[in-house]
């Protein structure tokens, strides 16, 4: 069967056969959306996180076949016409980005959190980020940026 996915509002099919079976591999290898990082490949680090129907999902654990009929949004699809989202702008303003490995996942998680909980507290933010591992251990600036994004809303 041919696979067809909706990614950042575009309807895409993998360009090559075979169908790459994991969402993270389809995004990176077929659609060249390299924001999601296949780092641990076991659902532990969160670097591969994308929104599937608005929910943060570990794309390293999701077969692409299960994403058919779903709306996938990657970190590349969050900014509209080049305008950063509030959380992206806050992360930049707080100089929170370090090596960048974990960041697409961090942005996806925080985007979802601020959608479902616009008044998120420090504890809410820390709880939401428990599945996102920062190799640079730069958590405090990330949390501060999220609080800034909450404050400016």
């Amino acid at each position: 069967m041919v696979l067809s996915l909706t990614v950042n509002s575009d309807h895409l099919s993998p360009a090559t056969n075979p169908i790459t079976p994991l969402v993270v591999d389809v995004l990176r290898e077929d659609f060249h959306l390299t924001g999601a990082k296949p780092v641990c490949r076991e659902g532990f680090c969160g670097a591969c996180m994308v929104l599937v129907d608005g929910v943060p999902i570990l794309s390293c654990l999701m077969p692409a076949a299960l994403a058919v009929d779903c709306e996938i949004r990657t970190v590349e699809g969050l900014a509209v016409d080049g305008t950063l989202t509030p959380i992206q702008a806050a992360l930049e303003a707080c100089d929170a980005v370090q090596c960048g490995m974990c960041f697409p996942g961090m942005v996806v998680t925080l985007t979802h959190l601020l959608t479902i909980k616009p008044g998120a507290t420090r504890d809410d933010i820390r709880a939401a980020l428990t599945g996102n591992i920062c190799r640079c251990t730069g958590y405090e600036r990330i949390v501060e940026a999220a609080l800034l994004a909450v404050a400016v809303r």
């Binding site: 490949r41 943060p56 999902i57 599945g131």
Partner: protein
Amino acid sequence: MPAHPFFDPTEGTGAMNTHSPGSIYVARSLPAALDALNECGSAGAPFAGGTWIMRSPIRNEPHKHHYVAIGKIPELTAIRIDADVVEIGAAVTHAALASALADLPEFDVLATAAGCSANPAIRAMATIGGNLSTSAFAAADCVPALLCLDAEAEVSSRGDQERVGLERFLKIRPTLEPGRLLTRIILPRRDRKTAHARLPLRKSGDYPAAIVSLAVSFDAAARVRAARIAVGSVEPVARRWERLEAALVGRPLDPAQAAEVAAELADEFTGRDSVDMPAWYRVSVVPSLVRRAVVAALDA
């Protein structure tokens, strides 16, 4: 080859991708899933959240040739809360379960188990049915929680359906015939206080060293009338701790006293060794977890 439209990642290539399932059929109804599982036989298996199956290569375990995805079947993703019973579809995620039970104090044990396991993204994918059906996963949080709630499991196959107690299900699950699927978990509603205590090495993300789940009811004099205590992650399969349950009945529930009795009885457990911690450590923390669970239940 099954008659259902499986997505086959190696179709036409002659290649085998050992990091991926062979093929996946996304079932839209329970009869379709049962038909597909029946057709696949031992070459197939159900695929719920996939958080265990997709990590098979890390455990050096081969994937099945066919998987039948059950996560889009409406009746398996529903939770029904009635006056005397709660029924949970096998494909309900941990996150959905924790949310649905948040306002039902008698199920604090299960809401906590579902709401604190692993990490938020895993909880959005991993299902209650997968948690119960994965024989090799000793540290599943929901298993001891459901044991202390006297849960029953509904197992379906093409043309047949049966309901068994959870302890019985845990015994038969490693040898469940191909084509049989855990479809629902049924919980009786009772007036009780419940709590779930777990000890991961870090606050979240890790598998717990040990888990204690507790459900107690009281008589008019505030003495324990009935107790259910289950221990998970210490041994390969979670189980009830009946000697401790019996020791608590007939007296007021006291955290220090419960922990003291637990310490006296803990030698009945044979801990499991693993790379992250030795067997003795798992057993040694159980009395403290009993105390924490009792404190949490009394505060509930």
